[in-house]
Amino acid sequence: MKKSGSESLKSINLRPFVESIIAILVGFIIGAIVLLAFGYNPWSAYYWLFQGALGSTYGIASTLKYATPIMLTALTFAIGTRTGIFNIGAEGSFYFGAIAAVIFTNIWDNMLFGLAMGMLLGALWALPAAVLKVYRGVHEVISTIMLNWIGWFFVLWLIVGPYANPNDPNKTIRIPVDARLPIIGYGLSIAIVIAVIAAVLTYFLLWHTTMGFGMRASGINQKAARYAGMNPKMAVMWSFLIGGLLSGLGGAMKIMGEGPGYAISQGGANIYGFGFDGIGVALVGRNHPLGIILSAIFFGMLRAGTALMQAQAHVPLEIIKVIQGIIVITVAIPSLYDLVKKAIHRGAA
């Protein structure tokens, strides 16, 4: 227990990696039991899942496409956790990033402007929770969840109201052609490259800058950080703002980088849920930006494979969320590694 401080300051440690792999396996095993209980064939479900995600160039491209938004929302949660807060607000910032892209690219059809405004609105939506946390002591879990709901209804109103497409009531107005993200191939845009760069920059910020050191230090021990002359309040503020900025970027890129609509679809269907999925990604990636790149690709695989799984094995795609939930609960088991090691030793003896 005494070592935990220095351990979490170290950047590479294989133990959490092994624990995440165990959690993923447990998720799949319990998922198989659920499938059996409802009369589905888990083998066929999992076969088509991975076939769909990795079996073709198109599959791999869609794996990376699905990995992009959740990589960014996971970074939001991870930065929060590293500074000692549970920021559940990625979801709300994501909505605002998406609607900002729609609004501002239609004012000036410039890609960088759209991305910048997405980041700005994403960060702004995180600000109330930050202020309430720092100045009123409001627990961020409650405030960010309330802000997610308020943001959801607000963006929903913008979608059906001022920014509805007059020619297609099922969508918002589109992103102008000049402001769309360039496509690499198979429907995959450069959004994935930007997301990976964002993860690497986050890593550098947290582990190779004074500001990042201050943020992590106040996450580990607020009092100690204050005695060492750091400002934990500012650390929390920055954590919320940078977090909101990253999710806002994710929301903007979701709309600016994905055809054929380049618009927010009816009821916000294509912008909902990425913040929540990001929490799972962050926890499996152990709140480490480089771990998050890997775990986002893994969760992207799960998502990309569902279409084929649903078509070929007739399994509802919601089973993936069941598996994700189980993985997160399993990740929450402390010293999972020791428990499994003990069990293996007992089995061998």
Binding site: V34, F38, Y40, F86, I88, P128, L132, R136, G137, V138, H139, V141, I142, S143, I145, M146, L147, W149, I150, F153, F154, L156, W157, V160, G161, G273, F276, I279, G280, L283, P316, E318, I319, I320, K321, V322, I323, Q324, G325, I326, V328, I329, T330, V331, A332, I333, P334, S335
Partner: protein, 297 residues
Amino acid sequence: MDVGSVLSILITSLMAMVPIVLTSVGAAWSERAGVVSIGYEGVLLMSAFFGAIFAELTSNAVVGLLGGVFIGILLGMLHGALTVYLKGDHVIPGIGINLLAMGVVPFGILAYWGTAGQHQLPRDAQMWHWKTPYGELSPMVLVTILIALVTWWVLFKTPLGLRVRSVGENPEAADALGINVEKYRFWSTVYGHALAGLGGAFMSVDWLGLVHKTMSGGRGFIALANMVFSGWNPLVSLIGGWLFGFFDALAAWLAPKHIIPGQFILMLPYIMTLIIVAGIIGKARPPKWDGRPYKRE
């Protein structure tokens, strides 16, 4: 606004109060013992779903409600095992339970009833209500008030309650007095989740008569806000819960009137929660060992 509308909003607010008060009362008890859970949102959703299945299988709403309690107990045992016995983080398992519910319920509705997202319960699986000219009222409203009263009385007026509170305020002292800290914390967590389970099943088999994949709608978190608002006091959370129920009912009454866009009305309960929590929380003090694992030296 005429008298009839006022009465109908008041009756709806009593119904809307039930899941929030039950969850707040349960959460208050659990946090008094030192265990934080943010998984109530998921507990409400899953017990609404499984409660509906229990009610349909037996054509009995009371069995459905008890089924919800059963699911709450199971999830409470899971949370208690992770936090109390394995000394894990209190927030992460709650996130896990919420994410799990977001998968289990849509999947379950599709796999069990074959409909996407929503299922209407047959009449015989729904709770009977008192019919008034201004809306229907469930006996569960009375049960909820009773549960809040009894929980308050046990927590503040009996030796059992004293022990529970001591475990949350000063587990070292409690331990020295021979109180089994882990046992009290574990069963307090189970009680908290069981009440949320009752609240969840109430939504499906009693109040609304349907299961919807997002029917919890943030009520688990609103209940936590209400718990803070009430100062971890079950009796006060009855008042706070009714207030949130009132905004819920007001939003539902205003929505079809098209005075302002419906989305803004639907925001109302969440905005009120934020304002109330922001206004009150500076003064609120949680139990001292709330959310901290206790390890014997």
